[in-house]
């Protein structure tokens, strides 16, 4: 496997923040990995994801994706980078309310200037939601909306799929379905970086779980079997909590 994401001594301090959201984080993610980043609220896990997506810039250190140093890209370059390399799945789906499901899925391709209706329909079919292609988000269930969001994230065949608490706004059953879907995508070769606070969910699907606490990586576990992984991660989290 080859390197896809490299964070080197990344620090992120928000304006007015006394402590950094990220403090000297270094990280390497390889192609094909399903990596979960875990941590409590305010630990810096979403900040880490935003930096990898090029949505935010580090205060210091560097972020490289696919060998591309994001610090060297301007706003337009970052937009092109996201369009070409990143698929983003949000906790609250963030579908555009005035576009149909199909139109939402098509947006990233159209921003790129390509026409991908056939692929969008294929993706909707793969995700089991082909029958809601012409419906607006307001008429979809949470699970359906998140599947549309995943299809949208995949439309440009990104090298990296970022998912920020993708099950956070869903019930357990629907959340499981979404995670199954992400697992299947990974098995098909998609690199996934998942942010979640749910250890069981993470360990059930991810092969690697990185724990973040107070802006630092406190644990980086490569899991061989789901059962062992879960106990290891839970141990790490209880240690963090007791500190």
């Amino acid at each position: 496997m080859s390197e896809l994401v490299r964070l080197t001594e990344v620090t992120k301090v928000y304006q007015g923040g006394i402590t950094g959201a990220l403090n000297g984080v270094s990280l390497l993610v390889e192609k094909g990995e399903f990596t979960a980043i875990m941590g409590p609220s305010g630990s810096g896990k979403s900040t880490l994801l935003n930096l990898v997506a090029g949505l935010d810039r580090p205060t210091s250190g560097s972020v490289a994706v696919g060998g591309m140093d994001l610090g060297k890209l301007g706003e337009a370059g970052l937009a092109r980078f996201r369009r070409d390399n990143i698929g983003f799945v949000f906790q609250f789906f963030y579908l555009l309310p005035n576009l149909t499901s199909l139109e939402n899925v098509l947006i990233p391709a159209q921003l790129k200037g390509s026409e991908a209706t056939a692929r969008a329909r294929e993706l909707l079919g793969q995700l089991g939601i082909q029958d809601i292609a012409d419906r607006f988000p307001a008429r979809l269930s949470g699970g359906q909306q998140q599947r549309v969001a995943i299809a949208r994230a995949l439309i440009n065949s990104p090298t990296l799929l970022l998912a920020d608490e993708p099950t956070g706004a869903l019930d357990t059953h629907t959340g499981d379905q979404v995670m199954e879907l992400l697992g299947k995508l990974n098995r098909d070769g998609q690199t996934i970086l998942l942010v979640t606070h749910d250890a069981k969910l993470a360990t059930r699907h991810a092969a690697r779980v990185i724990s973040v606490m107070d802006g630092k990586i406190v644990d980086d576990a490569r899991l061989e079997s789901p059962e062992r992984a879960a106990s290891e991660v839970i141990r790490v989290r209880s240690e963090e909590t007791s500190r």
Partner: protein
């Protein structure tokens, strides 16, 4: 109450940009409205004041020189006049000043006072010798003649020289740029300056109260029947003179009122859009306000107050600015009437305008703010904002089918996402573009009409002969010049037309008058003796239509005439007749032309021609290059139109800016999502710009027919006020490419205005926006 003010003030500080938009639009609307209303309410006053002060004549009548002065004097009692002046001996004289020659009606009077037509001496003194003359101030200023200047009379063989000793204001004649003028001398000086065909008696009548037009016509009819036939040569009423004094301000007032209503309508649309936008984006805040104890009415008051506060300041400044802006025009009227200028305004009226402006804005703000008051607290607090508009789908699909870039497609959809807001914005664009259309079109229509009146491009030289220089000699001189291509000569004589009280001036042409550039509104130009053309006012008063035959009276003899066409002519406010001189010669064989419109061969040196012909007989020929310049009142109207168009266009741009700003802020979450998905800053700007561009395009396309209709209507109003109907060519002043270019220009300006919210959206931090959600 205090809490409402504190909250409204805090909101106002937060929404400074929107407050600025409100301030500017209300300011422009109020300034234009106040100018209009002040002009409208005050313009009649200076004339009325001067008319009373100078005991103006309600009716002035010119009598032929062979009429017995004692009989003329007796007519005052016949028609029930309470006071009279005259009969004064008068003569139309020509004099030379520098190398220019002028005609005035010299009136013989011992003094400037009397029971009627008191002359207000503004400088100098009344003549005390036969070689002294007093001019009107209007005439002196227009022609740059000063006290002490010498005028050489060229209409009589002796060519005596007169000294200007005074300037007066005469309330019984129009200003020099619109009317012929009088001058005054001692009665004893008149005989030496008179010729048989230039003399007349002038009599002024004043009635106990201001008579109406029909009453004046009745009096004139009585007067005519009491004298031998043909005694009356002409008549003038105070109503006509008042109209001439006020015509510029009347037209200006009409234009200003129309566009003030436009500006106010646009302001109402912007206020309603703004408040709706604020309420939509402040659901959570409304919920919190209700939660902490604001009543529904107090919530409404908070939203209305933050609009009313900048509007209050704008009304204050706007009413003051409008009152000040009206003063130069009023000062101009006062000056023309010989009145000392004192600032003319009504505090009561200004207060009324101020209150009216505030009321309109308050209502426009309160109606959409009611939505905030009616929101249930729990609904408001649980929703950050109102459900996002989902309109514009059809447009978006249509744009997608055209394979436009996705940011453009999205922007097009956003433009009509909230149909009511889009409609209100369209109103502001529509009014702005329509005004621009009018401001572009009307000056062109004016120019066309001006060109027809001045013969621009049709003839280059105008020669006027003194009665001492025969017509045949003039023609010989002109025909001897190698550059002379065509000469159309003209004269004039009054004709009595059945149904028209005043004798009607005629233009009697010799030569091909159809090539002088007069505009034919309907029918055709005359082509044979007995045929005449006339402007609308005469046709209306005489109940004539094209094709009608009628019998006029000229020189006391019946004159068979047939109306074959309607023309445009503002002289005498549309009361004149145009015919071949041969028509008049049938009853007045001695009639001769005195004015010669000369068309030169292409490439001729006009100045050299003028110098050469003038040198033939310097005292008896007035030779000058044709003056095709636009008269001052038209220039003022053009300028005011230009300013109004600028103001309305700015309000239109403000409307688009306001809507795009609201849309952009409201959709910033979607924009952040799009940015997260890979939309570049440039694409964000394109999206916002497309939204503004579409609104401007739709508004512009709808505005074009509206603007053209408005141009049509205003042309008619202005033409009618000058006694005419608009000639068809005056409507058709736009090129096809301009009809496309004007809305496109609007699109360009709207896109430029959208750059500010567009750049703001493009620079938005995605993480902050999505995190805030």
């Amino acid at each position: 109450m205090r809490a409402i003010f504190i909250k409204a003030l805090a909101d106002l500080r937060r929404r400074r940009l929107q407050a600025t938009v409100i301030f500017l639009t209300v300011l422009f609307a109020m300034a234009a409205g106040t100018t209009a209303v002040t002009l409208m309410s005050q313009t009649r006053d200076p004339y009325q004041v001067a008319f009373e002060k100078q005991r103006g004549a309600h009716l002035q009548v010119a009598f032929r020189p062979n009429t017995d002065p004692q009989l003329i004097k007796g007519t005052a009692a016949t028609i029930g006049a309470s006071a009279y002046g005259g009969p004064y001996p008068a003569s139309n004289i020509q004099f030379r000043f520098g190398n220019r020659k002028f005609y005035v009606d010299a009136v013989g009077r011992d003094n400037p006072g009397g029971a009627v037509e008191v002359l207000n001496i503004t400088s100098g003194r009344w003549p005390v010798a036969n070689d002294e003359i007093v001019l009107t101030r209007s005439f002196s200023e227009l022609n740059k003649i000063s006290i002490g200047d010498l005028l050489k009379v060229t209409s009589v063989a002796q060519t005596p020289t007169l000294t200007v000793v005074g300037e007066v204001v005469d309330i019984d004649e129009g200003s020099a740029d619109l009317s012929s003028q009088r001058a005054w001398m001692l009665p004893a000086a008149l005989p030496a300056l008179s010729t048989p065909d230039s003399s007349f008696y002038l009599m002024d009548y004043r009635f106990p109260s201001d008579p109406t037009g029909p009453q004046l016509q009745t009096s004139l009819g009585l007067l005519k029947t009491s004298l031998p036939p043909g005694s009356v040569a002409g008549a003038l009423t105070y109503l006509l003179i008042g109209s001439i004094f006020n015509i510029t301000n009347q037209i200006l007032t009409g234009v200003l009122v129309a566009f003030s209503v436009f500006a106010l309508a646009a302001t109402v649309a912007i206020v309603a859009t703004l408040v709706t936008g604020i309420v939509i984006s402040a659901y959570r805040e409304i919920g919190i306000m209700r939660a902490v104890g604001f009543t529904p009415y107090q919530v409404v008051a908070v939203f209305a107050l933050q609009i009313v506060m900048p509007a209050l300041a704008a009304c204050l400044v706007g009413v003051t600015a409008g009152t000040l802006a009206s003063q130069p025009l009023l000062a101009n009227s006062s000056h023309a009437l010989g009145l000392a200028y004192t600032p003319t305004f009504s505090i009561g009226l200004d207060l009324l305008l101020f209150a009216g402006g505030i009321l309109v804005v308050a209502v426009a703000a309160t109606v959409p703010a009611l939505r905030a008051g009616m929101l249930k607290p729990i609904v408001a607090i649980t929703k950050a904002s109102a459900p996002r508009g989902s309109g514009g789908r059809m447009l978006r699909h249509a744009a997608a089918r055209l394979r436009l870039p996705r940011p453009v497609v999205l922007g097009i959809g956003d433009a009509f996402a909230r149909p009511l807001r889009a409609a209100l914005t369209l109103i502001t664009v529509l009014l702005g573009v329509a005004t621009v259309v009018v401001a572009v079109g009307l000056p062109r229509s004016f120019e066309l009409i001006n060109n027809s009146e001045t013969g621009a491009g049709k003839y280059q030289v105008v020669v006027t002969r003194s009665s001492a220089y025969p017509d045949s000699d003039v023609m010989r001189v002109l025909n001897a010049q190698p550059e002379t291509a065509r000469v159309v000569a003209s004269g004039g004589q009054n004709v009595i037309v059945p149904g028209v009280g005043d004798p009607v001036n005629t233009r009697l042409f010799r030569g091909d008058s159809s090539r002088l550039g007069y505009m034919v509104v309907a029918g055709r130009w005359y082509s044979a003796p007995g045929e005449v053309v006339a402007p609308a006012a005469l046709m209306h008063d005489a109940h004539l239509k094209i094709g009608d035959s009628f019998t006029g009276t000229a020189n006391g003899q019946p004159l068979q005439l047939r109306l074959v066409g309607e023309t445009y002519d503002i002289n005498n406010l549309g009361h004149s007749l145009f015919m071949d001189i041969a028509t008049m010669a049938s009853v007045t064989p001695a009639v001769e032309p005195f004015l010669y419109d000369v068309t030169l061969a292409p490439g001729s040196d006009v100045s050299a021609y003028v110098r050469r012909v003038a040198a033939v007989e310097p005292d008896l020929l007035d030779v000058r290059a044709s003056d095709t310049s636009t008269i001052a009142p038209v220039k003022i109207i053009d300028l005011v139109l230009l300013i109004l168009a600028g103001v309305l266009a700015l309000i239109g741009v403000g409307g688009v800016f306001n809507t795009v700003l609201l849309n952009t802020r409201e959709r910033i979450h979607d924009t952040a999502t799009l940015k997260a998905l890979g939309m570049s800053p440039r694409q964000v700007i394109v999206m916002v710009g497309a939204s503004a561009g579409l609104l401007a395009l739709v508004g512009g396309l709808v505005a074009m027919p509206l603007g053209l209709s408005l141009h049509h209507v205003l042309n008619d109003v202005i033409s009618n006020s000058a006694g005419n109907e608009t000639p068809p060519v005056a409507y058709a002043v736009f090129n096809a490419y301009e009809l496309v270019l004007i809305p496109l220009l609007g699109v360009g300006v709207a896109i430029a205005a959208a750059l500010i919210p567009g750049r703001w959206a493009a620079r938005t931090n995605v993480v902050e926006v999505l995190h805030a959600e």
